[in-house]
Amino acid sequence: MQYLISVIDDGAGLATPTEEADIDAFNDRLQAEGYWLFAGGLGSPDPATVIDNRGDETVFTDGPFVESKEYLAGFWIIEAADLDVALKLAAEGSKACNRKVEVRPFL
């Protein structure tokens, strides 16, 4: 079962060197224990562009699709046996990156 662990930033900004070191250690653990599928960090949503190509014309909109104080600042995609395992890893991830995280199962 695959889960998306999203990192929610509410204004803390980029990770501090300590947070980065903790995230690296957590990533190493995920890889060593076979949970790791993918991960990435995202900057502030300011430079985002929204694209809508459902109609005749491609429309580009400057800025994120939703204006909010909280935004997605990074994510992990993990393979875990069940939600209990995913919740435990997410709790460790939250501690490592010093931010709230959200767990969602893939279909």
């Binding site: 069940d82 939600l83 209990d84 767990v103």
Partner: protein, 410 residues
């Protein structure tokens, strides 16, 4: 057997066997929906057939077999869908197959899954009453003053999350067990409290159906986890509160506080059982958790034949112990009520006033202040505090009692 007898017997079998049937079907078919529906159909068949055919020799086995057949029928009907999709819906369970006698563990699995911390509290309560307690959606909706469709959606959503997020169907590991048991007990205590002090203007002030169901489910968990101190503690606590049920509401419908209750109306059998459990936990010599301490406090109260015989120093000591474990302002408030009996209302009022920041929106804070101010002869302030308590209180009998006390002020 008369028709009435059979009906009563079916009710009893439903109480005894519902959770067992749902749990064993969930384990076999890996799907709460299938288990719930098949169990309902099996019981409906029993209601139809047993009055004419009589009770089968082993009603539980009959129900499980019938429910299994119903579930297989449903799965066959759905088999047109591809197998992969069906597999994706299966609840996950990586434990090795259980030996046959481990049937009780299946009910525990069911309880832990329904009370999973990733579900909202109200969803846990609804799901536990439906899947473990066997209450109908309509009954649960009525109990919590929610529209039946809304309650149905709440349960459906919870089951869908269990499936989609793969909440496991198993008893938690030993390291997680204390936290998870305490989550289960929180669900049962919430059900009990809603029955004990029901909210809403169009409901009975005491809902015996809910307190009885909470006690029944706590007894079930006690039978499944006989060595858990907090489970015993919650059972003792709820029994000792339930024992005072008939004395809690006056003939005119007012809530009667424990110091004013007719102690002869207390249920001696329930008190005896509660006291035995408290003694058992004391003898275990293990540091008690919050339910055990609350049970001990209630044991001290119910040991006094007359309110004047109450051992207040022991109660205050128990509250001190509880505050160290659970430093919540509500515990501090209840502790202050005991302090008033030991050290006088002035000392207690000072302690209560310190809680204003945290409890200004809680009716019991104002009701406690009002009573202490009344005892200190500060009528005007007392009246204002009663007004505030009445405004915030949700229980009809409590509002009646507070209004009565306010109106007696000189």
């Amino acid at each position: 057997m008369s028709v009435v007898d059979v009906r009563e017997a079916i009710t009893e079998v439903h109480h005894e066997e519902w959770a067992r049937v749902v749990a064993s079907l969930t384990r076999r078919f890996g799907d709460l929906d299938i288990a719930e529906e098949a169990a309902s159909e099996a019981f409906a068949t029993a209601v139809e057939r047993w009055p004419a055919d009589g009770l089968p020799p082993n009603p539980g086995a009959w129900l499980t077999t019938t429910a299994n057949r119903k579930a297989i029928d449903r799965i066959r009907r759905e088999n047109k869908r591809d197998d992969k999709q069906r597999e994706a819906r299966m609840l996950y369970d990586d434990d090795p197959p259980e030996p046959l006698h481990a049937i009780d563990d299946e009910r525990l699995r069911l309880i832990f899954t329904c009370c999973h911390p990733a579900l909202a509290m109200e969803a846990r309560v609804a799901l536990t009453l439906r899947m473990v307690g066997g209450l109908t959606v309509a009954e649960i909706a009525r109990a919590f003053l929610v529209q039946e469709t809304a309650m149905g959606q709440r349960i459906t959503r919870a089951k869908a999350k269990i499936k989609a997020a793969r909440i496991p169907y198993r008893v938690p590991s030993a390291e997680d067990l204390p936290a998870r048991v305490s989550g289960v007990l929180a669900v049962l205590f919430l059900v009990f409290n809603e029955g004990y002090l029901a909210t809403g203007s169009d409901t009975d002030p005491v809902r015996h159906d809910l307190t009885a169901e909470a006690i029944r489910l706590t007894r079930l968990i006690r039978a499944l986890m006989p060595d858990d101190g907090e489970v015993a503690g919650l059972l003792a606590l709820t029994l000792l509160i339930e024992a005072r049920r008939t004395a809690r509401i006056s003939a005119s419908g007012e809530l009667v506080t424990i110091d004013q209750q007719d102690r002869g109306a207390w249920d001696a059998a329930l008190i005896g059982e509660g006291h035995r459990l408290v003694r058992e936990r004391l003898a275990a010599g293990v540091a008690p958790g919050r339910y055990q301490i609350l049970a001990a406090i209630n044991a001290v109260h119910t040991s006094a034949r007359d309110v004047r015989d109450t051992d207040w120093s022991q109660i205050v000591a128990l509250y001190d112990q509880l505050v160290r474990l659970d430093p919540s302002p509500i515990v501090a408030l209840n502790g202050a009520i005991a302090v008033a009996e030991l050290d006088g209302p002035e000392v207690a009022l000072a302690a209560v006033d310190r809680l204003e920041d945290k409890l200004a929106g809680y009716h019991a804070y104002h009701a406690t202040r009002a009573d202490l101010l009344r005892r200190l002869g500060r009528s005007q302030e007392s009246r204002a505090a009663y007004d505030k308590a009445i405004e915030l209180a949700g229980n009809t009998a409590e509002i009646a009692a507070l209004t009565g006390r306010r109106d007696q002020l000189g």
